[in-house]
C-alpha cells in the first residue's frame, strides 16, 4: 500500500467519524447551515479523493450521498429516513475502506447500485430536478464563508511557517480536489502544492480587499476556493499547529525517555557519593532537562477523552431508532486528557456501558410519560480530574436497577442464597451485575442482554488499576462511576529495606511512616502474637514485610525495632514493618518475567539509580494477603467513596473480643482501647473501697464490667486501658480473645447499663460494651470536670448520626468537651429542629446516612443564609482524600474519622476558638 493511500485511509476514517457526529447533530438541528456545510465538505472531500485515487465504488457512493445532501442545502426537508440513509451510506463506505485496508489498497468487488438508487430516488423526490442547482448554491455559500474565514486567517505575518506546514500536510487534499473536480481555469498543476497555495492566496487577498464583491471567478475555481477556505476554517487552526506522528514512534520515544530517567537517576546516585564533584552542576541541569523532557513526552501521550467518545453519538442515535426511544447524549468534560494507553483500554468498556444505559436504563417514551418524566431520556457522560485520577461518570435518568430482578438472577445463577441476600445492602446486591454471565435484560436484543458485558467492563477497568462503582435509585436512574489512573508508566515509590533486601512501595498507598523502638513513644505491642501499633490512640494492625515475603528473619536485629509504613488500600489501613526506609524515587515500572508473574506480592520490577534491580511491592497483593476479606470487599469499599446509602452496615470496624464474667464474648471497638495490659495480681491495691494499680506514675482505678468478673487469685490480670486527657481507667476482663474486623450491626438493643446491645461477631452473639458508661465509674468527674471548666463557654452543638452506637458513644464525648449536645438520628430530624428555630454554634454530622446523606445536608445548610457561617464538621467512617475533598465542596469545615475522638475534639476546639477570635 503506498503512502498516499495510507494517508487517505487515516484521513478519511477520521472524516467519517466526524460526519457521523455531525449528522446526528444535524438531525436535531436541521436548520443549522454550518453543520450541513461541514458534512457536505467532508463527503465532498472523500468523493474527490476517491476519484483521484481511482476508487470508483467509493466515489460513486460518496457522490450519491453528496447529491442528497446538496438537496438539503437547497432547503429540502431533513427527514429521519434521509439521515438514516446517509448514515447507512457512510457505513457502507467504512466497510469498503476496511476491506481496502485489509486488501492492501485493492478496492473490494461489489455493487452499491441498491444504495445509490435509493439515494438518488430520495434526492429526486426531495426537490428541484435541476441538476446544476446544488453547485450554484454551493458557490454562494462559498463566497460568504471565504470572506469570513480569510479575514481572520491572513493577518499580516501569519503566512510563513503555518502555510508551509499546511502545504505539506494538505498536499493530498489540495491536489486531489482540482484533479478530480475542476476542469481548472487556473490550471492547478498536479504536482503543484505551491500553485494551489498561491492560487488560493491570491484569491484570498482579492476577496479580502473586496469582501462584499463577488469574485469574478469561474465556477470551478470558486469551488476550489471554497474547499480551500473551509479546510482552513476547519483545520487551519488545529492542524497547522499539529502533526501526525506514528504511535509507535511515540511509544519508542517514551521508552527511551524512561531509560534516560533511569540513567539520570544512576548518575545522581554516583554524584551523591562524591562530595564536591564538578559533575554536580551540569548534572543538575541534565536532571532538570530530563524532567522536562519526561513531562513533555508524557504530554504527547495525553489525549482528550473526547476521542474515546467520538463514536458514541452515532451509536446512541442508532440505538434510539432501533429501540424506539428518545435519547439525548450529554457529554461533559470531553477535553479532559489522559494517557492514550489508558484511553485505548477504556474505550470499549465505555461504549458498552453507554449501550447498556440506552438499552436497559432508559424506558420507552410511553413508560416515561406514565412515570411522569419527559419522553426524552438523557444519558450523561462526564469526565474530570480528581487527584491523579480521572473520574468518568455515566448516568442515565431511566428506571434504575430492578433490585428484585437482580436478586432473582443471583439466586438463579447460584451466586448467593436468598438468606444471604437478605443480609445484603442494596449496594452489595447491585454489585452482582458485575459478576460473569450476569444479565437482567428480560429479552436479548441485538444491543445487549447477552450477559457478556459488565464483568468484562469491570475486568478491563481493573487491569489498568481502576475501579468501577454504581449507584441506582429506582425510577430515578443509574450512575456508574469509573476511576482510573492518569498514566501507567511512571510511579513514585518509597524504597524500603527488609532483611537486607530492598523493595519499592508505590507512594500512592503510603499514608505515613512511623519509627518504632522498644523504648520510644511508639512501640510494637502484641495481642496473642498479633503485632499492633498504637498510633494516635488507634490500634493499627501490623505485618512484617519479611514475614509476608517469607524471607528468613536475620538474627541480631530486634523484631520490635524498625519502621512502620502505614498503608491504605481501599478502606483498609495497616502497617508494614520494615527494617529501614531510604528515599523516594520515581521509577519506570517494568513487567516481571513470566516466571515471576505468579507472585501476587509484586506488581513489577525496575532498575534503581544505583543500577540494581528492585522488586515493586503490590499494595493490593499485600492487603489481600493480610486478610483475604480485603479483596472480596474491595468492591464494597469503593461504594463508600461516594457516600452510598446504607453503608453503615457494611463499614468494617476492628473489634476487640474478650470475656468478662460469662463465657459469651464481649466486644469494644478496638480504636477506643488505648492499651492492653497485664498486671501482676500483687500490684493490684485496694484503697478507699476500690481497686487501683500504680500505672505510669499515677493511680489507675480498675472497673469491673459486671459483678461476675472476679479478680484472679494469682498470676496476672488482663485488662483494657482507656486513657483520655492524662487519666486512665483499667477495665478488668477475664481473657482477651481476639481482634476481628467485622461489620458492626447492633441488632438487639439493651437496657442494661454499660451494654449498648448485641451484635453477631464471628458468628456469635456478642455484647457490645458502652465504654462511656464505665468512664464515670472510674472518675466520677470524668466528664464533669471539663464541663465545669468550660461551663461558661458552653456552646450548643447539634450532632447527627443515624447509628445509635455512635450517638451513644460520641454524644458523651462531646458533652465532656464542654458542649451542650443535641442529638438527632437523621438529617431530616435535624432540619426539623433547625427549622423550628433552634440555634447551634456548631454542627457535627455523619456522612453515611439514609434518605439525606451528610453531603446533601451540608449543601442544604450552606444554601441558607442563616447557617452559612455555622461551622459544620463531617464525621465519617471513610476518610479518603476524595471524600474529604467532597466534604469540603459540600461545605464542611472539617472532616474527621469516626473513631478519631481526639481529632474530633481538636477540630471542635479549633473551630469554636477561631470563632471567639473573630468575636473578640
Amino acid at each position: 500500500m503506498d503512502d498516499l493511500l495510507r494517508e487517505f485511509l487515516t484521513e478519511t476514517n477520521e472524516s467519517l467519524d466526524t460526519v457521523d457526529v455531525e449528522l446526528v447533530k444535524f438531525e436535531q438541528e436541521p436548520n443549522n447551515a454550518r453543520i450541513l456545510d461541514n458534512i457536505f465538505r467532508l463527503v465532498h472531500t472523500i468523493k474527490g479523493t476517491c476519484g483521484f485515487l481511482g476508487l470508483p465504488r467509493l466515489e460513486a457512493l460518496a457522490h450519491a450521498a453528496e447529491t442528497l445532501m446538496g438537496k438539503f442545502r437547497e432547503g429540502a426537508a431533513v427527514t429521519e429516513e434521509a439521515v438514516s440513509l446517509v448514515l447507512q451510506t457512510i457505513d457502507r463506505i467504512k466497510g469498503i475502506l476496511a476491506e481496502l485496508e485489509a486488501n492492501e489498497g485493492e478496492e473490494p468487488k461489489g455493487d452499491d447500485r441498491d444504495l445509490i438508487a435509493v439515494l438518488e430516488a430520495m434526492a429526486m423526490a426531495e426537490a428541484t430536478p435541476r441538476k446544476e442547482a446544488p453547485k450554484k448554491n454551493h458557490k454562494e455559500t462559498a463566497g460568504t464563508l471565504v470572506a469570513q474565514v480569510l479575514e481572520r486567517e491572513l493577518r499580516p505575518g501569519e503566512v510563513s511557517l503555518d502555510e508551509l506546514e499546511r502545504a505539506f500536510r494538505e498536499t493530498a487534499v489540495e491536489i486531489e480536489i482540482p484533479a478530480a473536480e475542476a476542469p481548472a481555469d487556473e490550471a492547478p498543476a498536479p504536482v503543484g502544492i505551491d500553485f494551489a497555495r498561491v492560487a488560493a492566496e491570491i484569491e484570498a487577498r482579492m476577496k479580502q480587499a473586496n469582501p462584499d464583491g463577488k469574485p469574478e471567478k469561474t465556477k470551478a475555481s470558486a469551488e476550489e476556493g471554497e474547499a480551500e477556505a473551509e479546510a482552513k476554517s476547519e483545520k487551519g487552526s488545529v492542524s497547522s499547529q499539529s502533526i501526525r506522528v506514528n504511535v509507535e514512534t511515540l511509544e519508542h520515544l517514551m521508552t527511551m525517555v524512561s531509560e534516560l530517567v533511569l540513567t539520570r537517576n544512576q548518575l545522581l546516585e554516583i554524584v551523591r557519593r562524591h562530595e564536591d564533584s564538578e559533575f554536580k552542576v551540569p548534572l543538575q541541569r541534565l536532571s532538570n532537562v530530563t524532567a522536562e523532557l519526561q513531562e513533555g513526552v508524557m504530554k504527547t501521550r495525553m489525549q482528550p477523552i473526547g476521542n474515546a467518545w467520538q463514536k458514541l453519538p452515532r451509536i446512541v442515535r442508532d440505538l434510539a431508532q432501533e429501540l424506539g426511544k428518545q435519547i439525548e447524549l450529554d457529554m461533559i468534560g470531553a477535553d479532559t486528557e489522559l494517557d492514550r494507553q489508558v484511553l485505548e483500554l477504556i474505550k470499549d468498556p465505555l461504549t458498552h456501558m453507554v449501550r447498556n444505559s440506552a438499552d436497559h436504563g432508559l424506558e420507552r417514551p410511553d413508560d416515561r410519560r406514565k412515570a411522569g418524566k419527559i419522553e426524552k431520556g438523557t444519558i450523561r457522560l462526564a469526565a474530570y480530574h480528581e487527584g491523579g485520577h480521572i473520574i468518568i461518570e455515566i448516568a442515565d435518568d431511566g428506571r434504575g436497577l430492578n433490585i428484585d430482578r437482580i436478586k432473582q438472577k443471583i439466586v438463579e445463577n447460584g451466586l448467593a442464597s436468598e438468606a444471604e441476600l437478605e443480609k445484603m445492602s442494596e449496594g452489595q446486591i447491585f454489585k452482582y451485575i458485575f459478576a460473569p454471565g450476569f444479565s437482567t435484560a428480560a429479552k436479548v436484543t441485538s444491543v445487549s442482554g447477552r450477559g457478556v458485558g459488565m464483568d468484562v467492563v469491570r475486568t478491563n477497568i481493573e487491569t489498568i488499576g481502576g475501579t468501577v462503582d454504581l449507584k441506582s435509585v429506582q425510577g430515578k436512574g443509574t450512575t456508574f462511576t469509573i476511576k482510573i489512573p492518569l498514566t501507567l508508566a511512571i510511579v513514585s515509590t518509597l524504597i524500603v529495606e527488609s532483611c537486607g533486601d530492598r523493595f519499592a512501595i508505590p507512594q500512592l498507598s503510603v499514608v505515613e511512616l512511623v519509627r518504632v523502638q522498644n523504648n520510644s513513644e511508639h512501640r510494637i505491642e502484641r495481642i496473642k502474637d498479633t503485632p499492633v501499633l498504637r498510633l494516635r490512640n488507634k490500634l493499627l494492625p501490623l505485618v512484617p514485610l519479611a514475614g509476608l515475603l517469607k524471607v528468613e528473619v536475620s538474627t541480631g536485629k530486634s523484631e520490635d525495632e524498625g519502621f512502620i509504613v502505614v498503608m491504605q488500600v481501599g478502606n483498609v489501613t495497616f502497617g508494614l514493618v520494615v527494617d529501614g526506609v531510604f528515599h523516594t524515587e520515581e521509577i519506570v515500572v517494568k513487567p516481571m518475567s513470566k516466571m515471576l508473574r505468579h507472585i501476587t506480592m509484586f506488581s513489577g520490577n525496575t532498575i534503581l539509580g544505583d543500577g540494581s534491580v528492585i522488586m515493586i511491592v503490590d499494595p493490593n497483593g499485600v492487603a489481600s494477603a493480610i486478610s483475604t476479606a480485603v479483596t472480596s470487599d474491595t468492591l464494597e469499599s469503593h461504594a463508600d467513596t461516594d457516600g452510598a446509602r446504607g453503608v453503615e452496615n457494611d463499614a468494617k470496624i476492628s473489634m476487640l473480643l474478650f470475656r468478662a464474667g460469662s463465657p459469651e464474648p464481649k466486644a469494644v471497638p478496638l480504636s477506643l482501647v488505648t492499651r492492653l495490659e497485664e498486671f501482676e495480681i500483687e500490684k493490684i491495691e485496694h484503697s478507699n473501697g476500690r481497686d487501683l494499680v500504680q500505672y505510669r506514675g499515677s493511680l489507675m482505678p480498675l472497673v469491673y464490667p459486671n459483678c461476675d468478673v472476679r479478680r484472679r487469685e494469682e498470676g496476672t490480670q488482663p485488662m483494657l486501658v482507656f486513657s483520655d486527657s492524662g487519666r486512665s481507667m483499667g477495665l478488668v476482663v477475664d481473657e482477651i480473645v481476639d481482634i476481628v474486623e467485622e461489620a458492626l450491626n447492633i441488632q438487639v438493643g439493651s437496657d442494661v447499663p454499660g451494654v449498648l446491645g448485641s451484635a453477631v461477631i464471628k458468628g456469635k452473639a456478642t455484647e457490645i460494651l458502652d465504654i462511656g458508661h464505665y468512664l464515670p465509674l472510674a472518675f466520677e468527674d470524668w466528664f464533669k470536670r471539663k464541663e465545669i471548666s468550660s461551663a461558661s463557654l458552653t456552646r450548643k452543638l447539634l450532632f447527627i448520626d443515624d447509628s445509635a452506637f455512635f450517638r451513644n458513644m460520641l454524644g458523651p464525648v462531646m458533652k465532656a468537651a464542654g458542649f451542650d449536645v443535641t442529638v438527632c438520628a437523621s438529617a431530616t430530624e435535624a432540619m426539623r429542629q433547625l427549622g423550628e428555630g433552634a440555634a447551634f454554634d456548631v454542627i457535627v454530622s455523619d456522612i453515611e446516612m439514609p434518605v439525606v446523606n451528610g453531603f446533601e445536608f451540608a449543601e442544604m445548610l450552606r444554601r441558607d443564609a442563616r447557617f452559612r457561617q455555622t461551622p459544620i464538621i463531617a464525621l465519617s467512617a471513610l476518610c479518603t482524600p476524595a471524600s474529604i475533598e467532597r466534604g469540603r465542596q459540600a461545605g464542611f469545615d472539617e472532616y474527621v474519622a469516626k473513631f478519631d475522638r481526639p481529632g474530633l475534639i481538636a477540630a471542635l476546639k479549633e473551630i469554636t476558638s477561631a470563632d471567639y477570635g473573630i468575636a473578640a
Partner: protein
Amino acid sequence: MTATSHTPGAAANDSHSGSTQYVTVFIGGQLFGLPIHKVHDVFVPESMTRVPLSAPEVAGVLNLRGRIVTAINMRRRLGLPQREGNHGIMAVGIEYRGESYGLIIDEVGEVLNLDAAGREANPANLDARWAEISGGVHRLSGQLMVILDVERVLGRMHGDLAA
C-alpha cells in the same frame, strides 16, 4: 533442538550430517553444551536481587546493560549441591519468548564445533531431572558433553508455574 525419539540402543547416529557449534560450560564438574545461536552473551552476574516467593531455581533478578534479567541457578535446576563461596561464578545470557534469562553456571569452557555424528540420545538411566532438560549427549575424547536444551530448561519452569 527437540527430543530424539530413538531408543538408546538404536541411536548410534543422527540421520542428518553437518556440525553444530556449542558453547561449553561446567556445572558441578559436568560438561554441558549450549548451541551457540542460543547464547547471547556470557557475563559475570553482579548485584543480584533476590526475589522472595519465587521458585527455588530462580536465583534472582539483575540488571544487564539496562535490561532486567532473570537468573536461574543451574545447580539447583539440576539438583546438584550448592557451591561453596561465590567466587568466579558466571552466567550465560539467553533469550526465551522475548524475555532475558541468565543461566548461572560454574565456569565457561571453549566453543566446540561438533559433528552431529557424535551425538546420541539420552541414556535410559539418566537422572530424570537431567533427562528432562537434556537434548542428548555428545561423545568427546575423554569426556561426555550433555546438550542443554534451553527451551526445556525454561519451558518446564514456565509450565509449572503457569499451572
